[in-house]
Amino acid sequence: MKDFKVIEIKKSVYESNDKEAESLRQELKDQELFLLNLMSSPGSGKTSTVLRTIEALGEEMRIGVLEADLDSSVDAGTVAETGTKVIQLHSGGMCHLDALMTREGIEALGTEGLDLAILENIGNLICTAEYDTGAAKNAMILSVPEGHDKPLKYPIMFSMVDVLLVNKIDAMDFFDFDMSKLTEYVTRLNKDIKIIPISAKTGEGIDQWADWLRNEVKNWKQNK
């Protein structure tokens, strides 16, 4: 009979990713590159928000975009039409990006001369929240048609992001969306969160979002 013994490991499954993310964040800090991790459900308007962001800030800072998808390069093609530096990442069936995949993407994009890199994460509110990508800040988009009760269903995501963009506010009249309830649910989970209502379609609220981002990029470069 073999002599089996218990070998204690006691390691978080996320530990190695957390370490990788921390070292990537430090490297990006040294290079003065602000990485924004943008997350949301599929169809909430990530790509159109990215386009609006480029429109608002593209003249004052150099922006690069990492488009993550399970497959295809539809989004990267759309962003590339603006003349912005963009790279398509395929997660190979994984439903989130981890720090290692983000690092590979950043390296492939080339950080030279960039001020802001936007990582358009995979459309998913579940495990994208649990994998630190090494980003300076985390943002998520919730669109009006998805409903104000989403924070109750996906608490982890809402509790870890720095800013919440409430997109498609131009469609508010067609949905029973309660902004004050949303704010109540979200701040219960995350008291420091910044909520910015926007419409990527009409451009409403984009200036506020651009102000927030401009300020964060500035702080990131200053507090080296």
Binding site: V6, V13, I126
Partner: protein, 113 residues
């Protein structure tokens, strides 16, 4: 069902630990999953055979321990299970609480030789 990729990653980690400790046979892998983790134990179990196929862990047993959720009330500081009390403090009825446990996903131990 987003567990498979993560379980494949766990299998790789365990293989590395086994090699580093000169272990040749693994009998059981013990994972701990918090009640608030996005990993669903039932799905971790069902994708396990696929994840271990052709690896050192192919013939191993999987055991999952559930770690209870806990939250601390921001008003009265009492600690309670947010799932059992629907995010509402059972002592002072406040709805603002900070999660202190339940999101873990740990490789606890292996039984091997």
């Amino acid at each position: 069902m987003h567990e498979l990729g993560v379980v494949i990653d766990i299998v790789k980690k365990v293989e590395n630990i086994a090699r580093a400790n000169s272990l040749t046979t693994i009998d059981t892998l013990v994972l701990q999953i918090g009640e608030l983790s996005s990993m669903i134990p039932r799905y971790v179990e069902s994708c396990y055979p696929a994840a271990v196929d052709g690896t050192m862990l192919e013939a191993t047993n999987l055991r999952i321990e559930i770690l209870p959720a806990a939250a601390r009330c921001r008003k009265c500081s009492s600690v309670f299970n947010p799932l059992k009390h629907e995010d509402c403090c059972p002592h002072c009825s406040a709805k603002e609480a900070d999660i202190t446990a339940g999101r873990e996903f740990m490789i606890k131990e292996i039984i091997a030789c």
